[in-house]
Amino acid sequence: MDNAKDLFGYDSLAFFGKVNASISHELKNVMAIISETAGLLGDLSDMASTGTPIEPDMLKSCTNSIIEEIQRGFLTIRQMNRFAHSTDSPAEAVNLMDVLDLTINLSGYLSFSGKVCLNPCKNVSPTVSTCPFLLQAIVYQAMVYAFKTTGPGAEITISLQARDDGGWRILFSGFSGSEFQVFPDVATSAMATSIGVAIRFDKTDDRLVLDVPLAIESTTNPSVAPGI
């Protein structure tokens, strides 16, 4: 746990900043659409005041657009709030599905994001005691490298698998192996080590594997295998 606390330093701050920048970009797009739609409504009002007939469908389309964008904005703010609260504690009991769901949503705000599918974990709650913020940083970084390597058409499937020791395995399909020439980088490796997460590439099935221990304290000597 002390290692996790120590890593709430520059690298973590940089990750926090990157995610917040992407969220602010998303919110600015939402505001831009609302602004343009309101502007169009203003244009239509001006036309109506000079006697030009206005189609009711156009007005309905504008109001629907504003409602949809406000909902999109609220959803984005909710993700932002969840992300901000992930720094509340260096270690806590977390449901891995929640962590993965949030991280996938956050990665969706990247301009170069691809498609990510999270397979459901039926009839079981994949809970571990870990640092949610650092685990998010590791998963996020893995997705960033996959998107950058594959391009806009990237498709990743994430699933969970229980381990015999009570921990969980996060499996990422859709990796080509090229990502592992650059992933994990030094900062990500250090974060993984601090919370006992082992990163490796499964060549047989072309997938990234993150082994997450049941608890940070139960980790004795976590291994990080940074290459193919």
Binding site: M31, A32, I34, S35, E36, T37, L40, S111
Partner: protein
């Protein structure tokens, strides 16, 4: 005036196109740089291209470079949703005609007019 409008935020692009249309400016909208490039490669000419800076695939700055190579007469206006300094994303050379989102339509119209009509002539101008 016919403009090329490229932005991956589809609703934003369509709303803006409608507002331009109400002001007598015809725009052809694309949601990706790749598709916009295709239409210019096919020989279509636009007086001005309005480009979002951040887009998946070909971003605005790269798109400008490629469009300029295809049609050197084309002028450009960048749109950015980024909070960072414009120079950081587009480079100092392009910064002059970069407008932040949310847009002020009058500012965009004035920029389009300036780009297509050129600077106002002065009494001292040479002929």
């Amino acid at each position: 005036m016919k403009v090329l409008l490229v932005d991956d935020e589809q609703k934003f692009a369509l709303m803006l196109a409608k507002r331009l249309e109400l002001r007598g400016i015809q725009s052809v909208v694309f949601f990706s740089g790749e598709k916009a490039l295709e239409t210019v490669e096919q020989g279509n000419h636009f007086a001005v291209a309005i480009l979002d800076v951040k887009m998946p695939g070909i971003g605005g700055v790269e798109l400008k470079r490629r469009l300029s190579a295809l049609d050197p007469r084309m002028k450009f206006v960048f749109l950015t949703g980024h909070g960072s300094k414009i120079e950081d994303t587009t480079g100092a050379n392009e910064a002059a005609d970069c407008l932040p989102k949310p847009l002020r339509i009058d500012e965009l119209i004035a920029t389009l007019k300036r780009l297509t009509e050129g600077p106002p002539e002065t009494s001292n101008s040479k002929h």
